[in-house]
Symmetry: D4
Subunit: 221 residues, 8 copies
C-alpha cells in the first residue's frame, strides 16, 4: 500500500532571504535527523545561507553529511552554513548574561547576530545579586545599539539594564533554576512586567530569536 | 492468595461500529504491550475493523502477533486492521500542516480519515511565517469538504485557513516548540481563540481525533 | 491638536460573504456602543447580512438607530439584520444543553445556525446527572446532521452524546459553575479530553462559533 | 566530621492503628530503597500491619529482605504485610474503572480496601463513550455501600455513576491521557465539578487514598 | 418571528428522589430569578422535597412567590422546601470550620445534611494556627460518623482532623483568603495532597456537595 | 425552627499572646462588619491587644463602636487597639517599597512592626528602574536588623537589596501592575527565585505578615 | 499620634531623561488621584516632559489641576505634558491593530511614540481572518523602521506581519476576547511562540511599553 | 574562526563575603562539571570559603580535582570548602522535616546553616498526620532562635509550628508527592497562605536558601 500523497515533506521558504533580508533558519528540535538532513540537501542545491538551531550532535552529523563545511557550535547547538559569518555591518549588538547557566542561550544569541551580519560581543556573569558587576560594565552597555539580556530565575536583569541605557533591550528568559522557576516561567513573567520600559521579550531559551531581533534592530540605515 | 475478582480487564465496545458507524480504536498509550495484545486477540475473534493509536514498536509487535497482516505506520504510531482502508466515499478530507515537526500528527489524521473511508490528502509546510505558501494552495483548500489544520507554536494557521474557505476547519494543536509553547498549550489557546469562525479544536497532538471528526463531517449524505 | 492619522477605525471585511459563503459577524464585546453603531451605519450602506454578537442593550440601541428593524434576542445578546433568517437549507442542526444556566449560550448557537441558513432545534436540560434524560432523546440525536452540545461544570455531556451517534459533535464549554470550574476551564479541558472521538471544541461560552461551525458542517452539498 | 545529630530518620507513627483504627502506610515514592528497608525492619520489630504504596521492584526487594513473606502486587506497586488481608467486615466496596489504562490505580484501590478489611470487587472498562457498559452494571452499582470510580481523560464517569445510585462515590482522577489531559488535571477538575452531588475526590492516581476512604465509609457500625 | 422551538427550558429530574434516595437541588447561581421561579412552580405541582442553593435574596423572593413557606437561610443562600427537615436518622454528621470567614459554607453543609435527614452539628473556629482549639474537640470529633471540614487559605485542617479520627473526612476548600490563595486553589491543592489518608474533597465553597456526601456516608444501614 | 447548634461563631485564640508572645490579629476580609464587631466586643472584655487587618471603613465603624479609641490607618486598612504601639524594643525594621502603588502594603508592614513593638521606618520609591535610588540608601539598608521589601510587577527589588546587605530580607509581592502581572503572581515568582539568598517571601499584598515576621526576626535577645 | 516617618511618598526619577534620553512616565493605575496630583505638582516645579499612562478621568482632573495645559487622550488614558509632542526625528513607527477592540491600546502606543519624538502612524482592522486586509498594506509595512502589532484573541497577526517584512516587530497582546482568551494570556503565548523570528513581546495591553520600545528602535543614529 | 570574545565565562562575586558577611555559593544545577571545576580552580586561588549546591557526583569529582579536601554530603548534593564549618556562633537553628522524603532538603538546610556558622540541629518525621509527634517536640521548638520547616504534599507543617512558638519560621516546600502536588506547587501555596503569621517561604526544594536565611536571622547581635 502506498499511503503517501504529498511529494515532499518540507517545502522550504527559500525566498525568505529576498523577502525579509535575513536567511532561513531550521529549528531542529522536533525534527528527526533524517528530516534535517533532507532539508540540508535541498539547501545545498539552492546555495542559500542558513542557520540550523537546537541541533543535537545527531542533527549536526546529518547536516554535515550534506554540507561538510558547516560550522557547529556544540555549546549551543547552532549550525551555520556557510561557516563564516558575513562581514559585520550596522550597530553593535551586546549580549549580557546573568550567570554561567545562561551561557548556551547567550552564545546562541551572539552567534545568530554575527551570522546575520552584525558586530556582536558577549559579557557573562553580571547577575543582580552583585550589582557592582553590571555597574562596572556601564560603558560597554551605553555603547551598544541594542542589548540582549539573558537571565533565568527571577529574570530581574533586563529591568536593571534597561534602566541604565537609552538602547532597546531584548530580554531572553532562560529555563535556568528549579522549583518555582517553572521552567523559565518566573523569568518570563518578570521580564514582561519589567518596571523599566524599553524591554521586548522573546520565548524562553530562545537565543536565536533574540539574536535575530537584535540584528534587525541594529541593521544599517 | 488469589487477589483478582474481575474476569477480564478489557471489556471491548464491540458494537460501537454498529452504533456509531465507525470502527473501534484502541489508544495504546498507557497500556502495556500485553494488554494491547490481549485486546488484539479478542478483536481477531470478532473480526471487527480496528485502529490502534500511539502504538510504540513494542505495541506493534504485540498486535501483529495476533493480527500478522496489520498495517503499521511507524512514523505516526498507527496500526490498522485490516490493513487496507475501505473504498473511499464521501467528501474530500484535506490535512494541512504548518511545519515538518507536525508531520507525525498530520499523518495520523490522514491515515485515520482514510481508514474511516474518506478520500484524504496531505499538504505540508504552509506555516504563516511565509504566507505565500498557504496562499498558493487556495485551490486545493477550496475544493475540500473539510480541512484538518495541524500546527504547533503559535497555532495561527487554522485562523488563516478558516478565513480563506467556506469549509469547516478541524484544528489540531501540536506539542511542537519549547519554552512558552508549554507542550502545545499556546497553540491550543490560539486555536480556541481563532478570530475567524468555523474552527473546532481537538486535543493537543490528537491526529486520530481530528481524522475521525473530519471523516464524520465529510460523510456521504 | 489633531493627533489622528487613520481615516476610519473599522475596515470591514465586506467581501467575506462572497469569499467564505457566510455573512460577517461583529463581536460587540470590547467595543463601545459608538463604535458598534458606526459599523452598523456602514453595513446599512452596503446592505450586507450581518450578525452582532454579545450585544448589550446599549449596543442594541446603537445598532437599531442605524438598522431599526434589526432582530435582538436579549436572552443571548444576538442582533441579526435583516431580522428574518434565510430559508433553511442543508442538514439538521441540533443544539442540546446540559442545564438551564447554559440557556443563553445554547440560544446563541441556535439562532446563529438559523441565521446562517440551517434548520435548527434546541433540547434543554439533558445533563449527565440524570442519564435517562439524554437517553430519552436518542431518536432526535440520531436524526441530526451535526449536534452542538453546550455544557459547563464537568463538561461531560459531549462525550456521552458523541458515544451515542454517528454525527459530529461541536462542544461548547460554558462558564457555568464556580470554584474549580475556573470560569469554564474545567469544562473546556473535559471536552478536549473526551473519551469518545468525534468532538470538536470551541471557546468557552462561544455559542456563535459553535452555531457557525455547525452550519458549515450541515451545509448542503 | 560527624555532621549528623538526629538519631533516626524515620519516626514511625506506630500507634496510628490504635488511634485511627487503620494500619500505617508507607509511601515509597520519594524514598530510597534503603530508607524503605529500614522502615520495614522497624515494623518487623513492632509487628504492625502495614501497607507500602508505590513500591518499585527495588523497594519491594528491600522490604522483603526484612519481611520475606510480604505480598507484592507488581501491577500496582502495593506491598502488604502480613500478606493476607484480614477477614472482611462491613459494607461492600465496589471499584469501577473507565479504561484499561486505569487498571493499576483501580487495583491499588481494590487491594487497599481489602487489606483494610472490607469486601471489595472490581469492574473494568465502563467508560462513558459506551454508556451501555455502565448501564449494564447497575445492579452491582446499587448493591455497593460505596463506589470508587477511577477515570482519566475527561473524568466524566463519576458524575454518571453518582447519578445512578444512592451510595457515596469516591472519585480518583488518573494521569491517563496526553496533551490537554495535563497529567490528570483535566480529570481532576471534571470530578470536582461533577454535576451530580455525592462525589468526593482524592489526588490524581491516588488509588491508596481512595481505597482507604472507601474502607472508612464502609466500616461496620 | 417565533424563534423558539423547545417547549420548556428546564426539564426537571423529578424521579431523582426515587432513583437516588435524595431530593433534587437547584443551583440558583447562573440562573435568573425568573428561571428559578418557574422551576419552583413546577416543583409545587409535583410536591417534591427540594433544596435551592446559592440563592440571592432575589432568587429567594422568586421561589417564595411560588412556595411561600420555603425556609431561607440568608447567611448561606440555602432555600428548603418543605421548610422543616425530615426526622433525623443515621449517623452523626459533624461540620467543623477553620475560621469565621468559612461560616457561610459550613452552614450550607450543615443545613444540607439536616434537610437530607441526618443529625448534624457545627463547630467553628478550630483553625490549625491554634492547635489547642481542635485538640479540645477530640471527643466530639471521635463521636461523629463523618466529619465535614471547611477551611480556606492553607487548607491544613482536614489533614490534622483526619489524623485524629477513624471516621471519613469530607474536605471543603473555601475561597477565603487573598493573593496566592487564588480563590481557593491553594486550599484545594492542600486538601488533595493531605498527608493523612481518609479525605475526600469537593469543589471550592461547595458546602452543599459536602453536606450531601456526608449524608450519604452517614446513611442508616 | 432553630437551626443553629453552635454557641458562638468565633472562638478567639486569646492565649495566643501568651503562647507566641505576639498579639492576636483579626483578618477582616471575608468577614461581615457584624462578625468583626462581635469579635471586637469579646476582645474588649478580655482587654487583649489586637490588630484588625484589611478593614474597610464599614469594618472600622463596627470595631470602633466597641473600641472607640481604636486607631485606624485608612490608607492601609489597619486597626490597632490599644491605639498606641508599645515602647519599641529590639532591632531596627526597615520597610522599603519599589513604587507609590505599593504604599498601602508597605504601610501595613510598617505599622504592624511598630504595634508589635519594634522600631520601624519606611523608605519609598526605590524601584530598580532607577538603581541610583536604592544605591543612595545603602547606609540605611546596612543599619537595619531586617528589611521588608515591598514590590509588584517584576518583583526584582528584593534580590537587589539582599545582594547589598547582611541582614535577612522579607519580601512582599504586591498586586500592583496589570496583564501578565497576574495579580502579583509575577512578583511572587520573581521573589521566590531571587538569585541572591537571604529572602523569605510572604503572600501577595500581605504587609501584615511581613511586618509580623520582621518583628519576630528583630526581637530582642 | 504621628505614625509616618518618610518625608515624601514618591521620589521621582527626575534625571531619567538625562540618563536614558527619554522622559519619565507615571503609571496612574494603582495610584490614587491625590498621589498622581502630587507627582504632577513636583513635575511642574522641575519642568520635566512627562507622560501619565492609564489615567482615568479622575486622574486626569488631578493632573490638570497642576498642569492645566496637559493633553489628555481619553480614548486610551494617556496624559502628556507639555501637550505637544516634540518635532519628530528618526525612523518611521507604524502601529497596526487587528481589530476595533484593540483601538485603545494601539492609540496608546501611537501617542507614546509621537511624544517620544518619532513619526508614527496607525493602521486599524487588519486581522488575519481576512488576510487581504494586511496584504493590501504591504507597502506601508515595508516602509516602516519598526512595526508595533496590537492583537488580542489568537495573537496571530505579529507572526504574519513579521513574515512579510525586514523590520523588527514589537508585539502587544491585548485582553480583547473572552473565555479561553484568559485576559490576554492566549495572545501573549501565541506571540511568544511566533513561528516567524523578529518579534519582541511586551506585557498584555501595554501600549505605552510598545510605543517606548519602538521609539528606541527607531531612534536616529 | 575564533567565535568567542569574552575572556572568561564566570566572573565570580568574590567580595560577596566581605559585602554581605556570608560566603559565596555556586549552584551546580544547570552548569557542566567543566564549568564548576573551573570555578573551583578560581576559588582555590583566592582561598574563599564556598559552598557548592545541588552537586551531582560528577560535579563533586570536578570540584575535588581542584579542592581535594572538600566535604561532599552526597545525600543532599552539598559540597563545602574548607570542609569544616566554622565555630558556631549566634542563635540556635532548628530544622524540622515532615517526612523521610524531605530528608535531603532538610539536610541541605542543616549543613548550610552550620557552614555559615550557626549551631544547628535536625528533627525528622513530625508531619501533621500524627500531631503527637510535633507536639512532643515543643520544648526543642521553643528553644530555637529560628525554625526551618521542610514539608511537601499539603505543606501544612509550617502553619502548625508557627502557631506554637514565638520564633520566626522559614518554610521550605518540597517536591515530595505526586499528582496534584504539582512538583511542590501545592506545598508552596499552602505555606504562602499559612493561617499563622510568622512564616517566610523560600523556593521549592531550596534547602540552601532556607539555611542561609536562617543563619542570617540567628546571627549574633
Amino acid at each position: 500500500m502506498t499511503d503517501e500523497t504529498e511529494s515532499g515533506f518540507a517545502e522550504l521558504d527559500l525566498d525568505r532571504a529576498q523577502r525579509r533580508g535575513y536567511p532561513e533558519a531550521v529549528l531542529c528540535h522536533g525534527k528527526t535527523p533524517g528530516q534535517v538532513g533532507a532539508i540540508a540537501a535541498t539547501l545545498r542545491e539552492h546555495g542559500a545561507r542558513t542557520l540550523f538551531t537546537r541541533a543535537t550532535p545527531e542533527h549536526a552529523r546529518a547536516v554535515r553529511t550534506e554540507l561538510p563545511d558547516a560550522f557547529y557550535a556544540d555549546d549551543c547547538g547552532l549550525l551555520a552554513w556557510p561557516p563564516q559569518p558575513p562581514q559585520p555591518v550596522g550597530g553593535q549588538v551586546l549580549v549580557v548574561a546573568a550567570g554561567t547557566a545562561d551561557h548556551a542561550v547567550a552564545r546562541e544569541a551572539l552567534l545568530t547576530a554575527r551570522h546575520l551580519g552584525r558586530p556582536a560581543e558577549l559579557i557573562m556573569d553580571v547577575g543582580v545579586a552583585g550589582l557592582h558587576r553590571v555597574l562596572a560594565k556601564q560603558e560597554a552597555l551605553r555603547a551598544a545599539r541594542v542589548i540582549v539580556v539573558v537571565a533565568g530565575m527571577d529574570g530581574a536583569l533586563p529591568a536593571v539594564v534597561a534602566g541604565l541605557v537609552a538602547a532597546p533591550v531584548v530580554a531572553v528568559p532562560t529555563s535556568t533554576g528549579y522549583g518555582a522557576a517553572f521552567g523559565g516561567l518566573a523569568a518570563l513573567l518578570g521580564m514582561l512586567n519589567s518596571c523599566a520600559p524599553g524591554v521586548g521579550v522573546v520565548n524562553i531559551d530562545n537565543g536565536y530569536g533574540a539574536g535575530h531581533l537584535a540584528a534587525q534592530i541594529a541593521a544599517p540605515a
